[in-house]
Structures are given as structure tokens and as C-alpha cells.
């Protein structure tokens, strides 16, 4: 059976917490519930499923890539085109350190930006099920459920104090 999406629009966080509890008690899996808000709430405030992200991996990988490029760029060129000056060591470590550090930070930030976009699922061309009042402080509870459970979800959301219920038309 096809799934449908509903959004209950609430004004008070307490109502959202209550709606989430009732939905979960009624067998709606926590992974199928989402909360849209205009500002973040402390994790677990609504008893919600905490989405797993791996953002921390992106800067780590980016930093390693940047460091490797910096190392290859500096050491590689000095070894490939050796210019011995006054009998000093071929590899000039202090300036290499600066360049490798720069490249490490550059790699880290580029990968972090990509990571933020990827993990946030951005950019989105269409907002989908959304209400403009959310950026004014309203809170939307999104329920992704089979068509035959939509009526139950709607009644639970309304019972918890939702001011309006929206359905995904797309």
C-alpha cells in the first residue's frame, strides 16, 4: 500500500511532545516521524528518533586528503627537481609544514561544506510538505504512514492540539 505524509501544525512544544508520545504509543514507528521547527530543540525533547549523521567523517577525510596533497605537492616537487642549496637538506621542512597545514584546512572545509549539504539532504528544489509559519515559531509534526493509517494519525494529531493538518499533495 502506498504511503502518505501528514503534517500537524502546532503552536506549543508541549503539544508536540504529547502528539509524538501518542503516535508512538499507537504503533507509528519513531523513524517515520519527523519534526520541523524554526529553531532547534535539545535532542530528545519530543522523544523523537535521533537521525544518525556522519558529518564528522567529512572534515576528517577532507583534512587527510588536503594533507596528502600538501605533502605530495611540496615533497614531490623538491625530490623531482632537486636544488641543493649550500649543502642543506633537500626537503625544507618548515615551509612545507605551513603549506601542508593550509592544504589540510582547505581540504577539511571543502569536505565539511559537502558533508553539510549531503547530510542535510540539501539543496531541495521543492519544499514538499511544509508551512511558512514554521519559521515564525510553529512546529510541524510529520507522519509518514500507510494510506489506511492516515485517518488515525490525523485524529491523534488533532487530539494533541494541532491547529491544522496538511497532507502531501505531491
Amino acid at each position: 500500500m502506498a504511503n502518505t505524509k501528514l503534517m500537524g501544525l502546532f503552536q506549543e512544544p508541549e503539544q508536540v511532545a504529547s502528539a509524538m508520545t501518542q503516535l508512538k504509543d499507537d504503533g507509528f514507528p519513531a523513524e517515520d516521524l519527523d519534526v520541523y521547527s524554526g529553531s532547534p530543540f535539545p535532542e530528545g525533547s519530543f522523544g523523537e528518533h535521533e537521525p544518525e549523521t556522519r558529518l564528522y567523517m567529512f572534515p576528517l577525510v577532507g583534512a587527510l586528503v588536503g594533507f596528502a596533497i600538501g605533502l605530495l605537492w611540496t615533497a614531490g616537487t623538491q625530490i623531482s627537481y632537486p636544488l641543493v642549496t649550500g649543502g642543506k637538506p633537500l626537503l625544507s621542512i618548515p615551509p612545507m609544514t605551513i603549506i601542508m597545514y593550509e592544504n589540510t584546512m582547505l581540504g577539511a572545509i571543502i569536505f565539511t561544506v559537502l558533508g553539510v549539504l549531503f547530510e542535510s539532504r540539501l539543496p531541495r528544489r521543492k519544499l514538499g510538505l511544509y508551512d511558512e509559519r514554521i519559521t515564525e515559531g510553529y512546529i510541524g509534526v510529520i507522519v509518514d504512514c500507510p494510506e489506511d493509517r492516515a485517518a488515525k494519525a490525523e485524529s491523534l494529531l488533532t487530539g494533541a492540539g494541532a491547529e491544522e493538518i496538511k497532507r502531501d499533495e505531491g
Binding site: P40, Y101, S120, G128
Partner: protein
């Protein structure tokens, strides 16, 4: 006493506004592009153009070694921007990492200043062209054969600018979405809508934004010292024969932190006076920022003294000439001005509770700190660019004091106006007060009666 009472009143003011109140108020101001705004933009654009004229005059004189001294004030202005405007996102990054609740109204002001990183990168290019070759003189590049210092300075400064812009854009996504949702359909709104990337504020998005803001902030904190080190090494230390100051990278970073706090205070004061943002930039923000300002002012002296005492007791011929040039003789007046505005003034003023606990006190001290920072950059960089032959082992002869000529004054005024102009322009694309951070903070704060007074109870969110 009066100030203390005023601060108390501000703290107990209630009931607290709601997220909706803040969103409507901030977006209302954000939407407004009245005559006053365009008036300021026009004035700043005109002053910026004057700076371009000054730059073109200097450009027409060329970059030959004998003309290097002409670029001293240009480089000092660049260093001033790095020490103040471009340093401001460090405040936001640091306070967010420390989870300071009072930071919320001022983080966006400091992040919007990250846009000045673009001007810094543009100004860096002629500054690098004006540098003499690193061959045969001391530098941190050790005669490194590949693109030093130009290519690596551009990458370093460019990385800082990129991190700043990523921080600014990423943290502003929720407020761009708010502007997208509530502004009338105009070309400006369409740009804002495109920049919001379709943000909806889901649980996943908030989680990622939080982590991303901390990561980008930490990277800005890690890259800023690199840029200051490159600046002072390439444009000051490497041009002054006999100068061997091991702590100068740390000195300029601390000076940058002081400049950032000072300029943040000045910006908040101007926004109160000119933009009617009194309820966002209250005594609490000025009072809280005055404490690190006092600490950085003490550190200003500590670092300067630590460098000075090494030279004073070293007394080698090269060191004696350097100390005469930048401390005792040619640039003594500049040092004295900076000494008063960056150390004595803040120390004398900010030890007093009524001054710290006010709006005007920290703002006045901050103004002095910013002016002192400019004068100090003149001392460091104009003196270095005046040296005829940086490849000597001992500075001989010492260059005379170089006072600013008309093109130099135009460049200083133009570059500072350019930074302010960029801030004004970006502030009409990204709201200058963070709606979501204030909204989040409001939910964590309750004003409670406590015996005979009111107290603000703040929940820890994590």
C-alpha cells in the same frame, strides 16, 4: 549606580518575547530598505571609491624596490582589516563552542563580517607584488623554491575567507528560510530563496547544522592564527633586518582577538544608535564582552613587554637599531598612542564596574582599541616597508618616520568604508540578528521571582 539599576531593569524585563515576536521584528527591519539605508550605502560606496582612487595613484607609481615604501600604508590597512573585521567571526566561533547564552544576539553581526575576507584576498595580491624577493633575506619560507610567499599566502588567506563564508552561509540557512517564507516576492527574495537551499528545519537538518557550525567555527579558530602568522612574517618580520621576535605570531593573534572584541562592541553600539537594535544589543552583551576585552588588553601589554625585554637585554647592534625604529625613536609616537588606547585606556576604564556594566563604557573603550589597532599596524608595517634593503644583517641606515600622504589616507578611509559597505550589503541578504539562535535561547530562559528580586534561570541545552 544609575547604570547598575538600568542593567537590573533590563535583565528583569518581562514577559520575554516569543519566537514569533522576534521573527516578525527582525524580518520587518530586514525588509526595510529605506532612504536611510541607501544613504549610508551611498556614502560608504563613495568613500570606497576614494580608496580605489588612492590605490590607483599608488599603482601608477609602480612596485619597483625604490617605491616599496609607498605601499606601507596599504599593507598596514590590510593588516588592520585582518586584525579587526576579519577577526570578528572568531568571537562567534569561540562563544558558540563555549555555549555562552548571551552570545545569541551578536553572533550574526560577527559572522556577517566574514564577508570582508573577500576584500582581504583582493588587497593581498598587490601587497604581495610589492614584497621584495625572498632570495637572500630571512623569511619563514627559507628560500623555498615553489611559489613562496605569493601562492601560499593566497591559499592561506583564501582558506580563511572560504571558511568564513561557509560559516556565515551555513549558520544563516534557517534565517534565509525565514526571509524566503515571509518576504514579498521580489528579485531580492528570489536570491534569498535560492540561498536558503530549500531548508525546512527537520530534525536531521538541525543536527547537521549544529555540528557543521561547530566544525566550521573550530576551523576558523585554527586558520586565523595561520593567516596572522603569514601576515606578520612576510610583511613585517621578514623585512626588518635584525628583528628576531619569536613570539610575534602569538602577539598579533592576541591583538587580533582584542581588535575583534573592540570592533564588535563598536558595531553593536552603532546598530543600537543607527538601527534601533536596543533590545538585542543590551547591557548584557556589552557587559559580557567588556571582560574579555579587559583580559586581551592586559595580554596586549604582556606580549609587547615580553618582546621588548628580549631586545632590551639582547642589545646586539641589529636589535638596538630595531628597538630604536619601532619603539624608541621613529615610531615612538605610534607606539605611545597604541599603548594608551590598547592597554592603559582599557585597564583604567574597565576595572570600574559602572563602566563595564554599561553600553557607552565598553563601546568607548572598543573605539579606542580599534583606533589603537590601526596605529599599531602602521608602526609594524609602515616601518618595515620603509626599509630600503631588507637583505642586510643589521638595519643601516634606519628609515625616517613615514607619515601618510594623501593617497595613503584615501586608501585607509576607502578600505575601512569598503568593509562597512560589504557588511551593510550582506546584512540585507542575511538578517543581521539570528532569529533561530534567539528563538532557541528564549525557550531556555525563564524569569523567576527570587526573594525580593528577579532572577533569570537558564537551562543548559546539552
Amino acid at each position: 549606580m544609575h547604570n547598575a539599576h538600568h542593567a537590573e531593569q533590563e535583565m528583569q524585563a518581562g514577559p520575554l518575547p516569543t519566537h514569533q515576536d522576534v521573527a516578525r521584528d527582525v524580518l520587518g527591519r530586514f525588509q526595510d530598505l529605506g532612504h536611510r539605508y541607501w544613504g549610508w550605502v551611498t556614502v560608504l560606496a563613495f568613500l570606497f571609491l576614494l580608496g580605489v582612487v588612492g590605490f590607483v595613484i599608488r599603482l601608477s607609481e609602480g612596485f619597483a624596490d625604490e617605491n616599496r615604501a609607498n605601499w606601507g600604508y596599504f599593507v598596514a590597512t590590510l593588516a588592520f582589516i585582518v586584525t579587526t573585521f576579519t577577526a570578528m567571526p572568531v568571537i562567534s566561533a569561540g562563544l558558540r563552542l563555549a555555549k555562552a547564552n548571551w552570545r545569541r544576539p551578536l553572533t550574526r553581526v560577527t559572522e556577517n563580517m566574514a564577508i570582508t575576507g573577500l576584500l582581504v584576498v583582493l588587497m593581498l595580491i598587490p601587497a604581495l607584488v610589492a614584497l621584495p624577493s625572498i632570495d637572500g633575506r630571512f623569511s619563514i619560507w627559507f628560500e623555498f623554491p615553489m611559489g613562496a610567499p605569493g601562492l601560499w599566502d593566497v591559499i592561506g588567506y583564501g582558506t580563511l575567507a572560504l571558511i568564513g563564508l561557509a560559516l556565515l552561509w551555513g549558520v544563516a540557512l534557517p534565517d534565509l528560510a525565514a526571509a524566503r517564507d515571509h518576504l514579498p516576492d521580489t528579485p531580492r527574495r528570489r536570491v534569498i530563496s535560492w540561498l536558503s537551499l530549500g531548508w525546512v528545519g527537520s530534525l536531521r537538518q538541525w543536527r547537521v547544522l549544529y555540528q557543521g557550525a561547530l566544525l566550521a567555527g573550530a576551523m576558523y579558530l585554527l586558520t586565523y592564527p595561520l593567516v596572522q602568522t603569514l601576515m606578520v612574517s612576510d610583511f613585517h618580520h621578514g623585512l626588518l633586518p635584525g628583528l628576531k621576535d619569536a613570539i610575534i605570531p602569538a602577539t598579533v593573534v592576541v591583538n587580533g582577538l582584542q581588535g575583534a572584541v573592540g570592533l564588535t562592541l563598536v558595531t553593536m553600539y552603532l546598530m543600537r544608535r543607527l538601527g534601533n537594535y536596543e533590545k538585542y544589543f543590551s547591557v548584557e552583551q556589552f557587559w559580557a564582552l567588556s571582560k574579555p576585552l579587559l583580559a586581551f588588553s592586559l595580554l596586549w601589554f604582556y606580549f609587547w613587554w615580553a618582546s621588548f625585554i628580549t631586545f632590551w637585554y639582547g642589545r646586539q647592534p641589529g636589535e638596538s637599531e630595531i628597538i630604536r625604529l619601532i619603539v624608541l625613536d621613529e615610531y615612538r609616537a605610534a607606539l605611545m598612542v597604541s599603548f594608551v588606547l590598547n592597554f592603559i585606556g582599557p585597564l583604567v576604564a574597565l576595572v570600574w564596574n559602572p563602566v563595564r556594566r554599561s553600553v557607552w563604557g565598553p563601546a568607548l573603550v572598543g573605539t579606542g582599541v580599534v583606533i589603537g589597532a590601526l596605529v599599531n599596524q602602521v608602526r609594524l608595517y609602515v616601518s618595515a616597508f620603509s626599509v630600503a634593503d631588507p637583505s642586510q644583517h643589521v638595519l643601516d641606515p634606519r628609515p625616517a618616520t613615514q607619515w601618510p600622504a594623501a593617497p595613503d589616507l584615501l586608501i585607509i578611509i576607502g578600505a575601512i568604508s569598503g568593509c562597512a559597505l560589504l557588511f551593510m550589503l550582506v546584512s540585507k541578504i542575511i538578517p543581521v540578528v539570528s532569529i533561530w539562535e534567539i528563538g532557541e535561547g528564549l525557550r531556555l530562559v525563564k524569569v523567576r521571582r527570587y526573594l525580593n528580586r528577579y532572577a533569570r534561570v537558564i537551562a543548559k541545552s546539552h
